[in-house]
Point group: C2
Chain length 200, copies 2
């Protein structure tokens, strides 16, 4: 990555380079079936790039995974940042982040990596995932902190809860094969956030 002086091409470029097509194919396959289940052969087929080219651009599967995960994390963070730092009132930004339409059955592209042994065993693959959640939680905490009468501990705990809720909603939707499970979980959280609490 660091020694790659190639000029960046636009993501939607009509004729993406072999390297970009390999990364895009890997991203898609990782999302659909996980990293360890994705073989170099499959990446070649989906990308339409030959075997020689794959191993020319990436010395091994590991380096391809590193590149693909880095792009996935950067994209996901950019989306969240756009929602959470827009000009809207804090309350609206929070609701917008929580209720954004998500492909619940597909799962979180980043969160699922935490249960992938192939990723866990490899610090270079693990680090982007850690950074993603660190920054996402910080973004959410900053929004909670804008609300009146919120101390630092309170905003911090609520940020962990909000991000965990989304991740767990994905898990429930997948387990139950029920896209609406994530929505139900979010609704329940928003209910209690709205002060319509539950404990006497």
């Amino acid at each position: 990555m660091a020694n790659d002086r190639r000029v960046d091409e636009p993501a939607g470029s009509a004729a993406a380079s072999s390297r970009d097509r390999l990364i895009a194919a890997a991203q898609q396959l990782y999302w659909e079936q996980g990293v360890s289940s994705t073989t170099p052969r499959q990446v070649m087929q989906v990308s339409g790039v030959g075997q020689g080219s794959l191993y020319h651009h990436f010395p091994a599967k590991h380096e391809l995974a590193q590149a693909a995960i880095a792009v996935t994390v950067a994209d996901a963070l950019a989306t969240a940042e756009g929602e959470l730092t827009s000009g809207s009132p804090a309350r609206e930004r929070l609701i917008q982040y929580l209720t954004r339409p998500r492909d619940a059955l597909a799962g979180c592209r980043v969160g699922r990596l935490t249960y992938e042994q192939y990723v866990i065993d490899d610090d270079a693959l693990n680090e982007p995932v850690r950074q993603y959640f660190r920054r996402l939680i910080a973004l959410v905490q900053d929004v909670f902190a804008e609300l009146p009468g919120m101390d630092e501990g309170g905003s911090r705990r609520r940020a962990y809860a909000a991000v965990a809720l989304i991740q767990g909603g994905y898990v429930l939707s997948r387990a139950l094969d029920e896209p609406a499970a994530l929505d139900s979980a979010v609704s329940g959280f928003v209910d209690v956030l709205n002060g319509d609490a539950g404990l006497p």
Copy 2:
């Protein structure tokens, strides 16, 4: 399972049968490193059972996985049921379930299966996972429903939120390599449940 007439041995039996040791080893390995990463060889080594015995008791890896996952799900459900149907007031039962000490870095033995391609692709493996979450959510919903002024939709949504929160807490703890992340998420949820809401 249905055609197995062998007399059940106590779980903590001094001399467990080969079959039971195989299942126990598989459970442990599935928890530590996932199902697809766990090879029959590893199960043999951990259980101390030879290869011939493994394939005598289980025709293939698939049947071993089925048996091990069934036991894991049954155990996890029994634990949750004990907490959620005890004699304590509803509020206490809920808090007890949410704040039970958990090995956050290890992840949820059941929840992690939702991101395992090996499990997803196999209905026989998938069904116990679905049942686990269906029943767990129902148990939690029943407790919420005991609280005053709670309609059915409200208890349902809160149950989804509570279960999702735990699952997502595991994901965060693993992603951040930070056992306390799950605790923070739970605390944030309990904060808002306590009516100490957040949105103006």
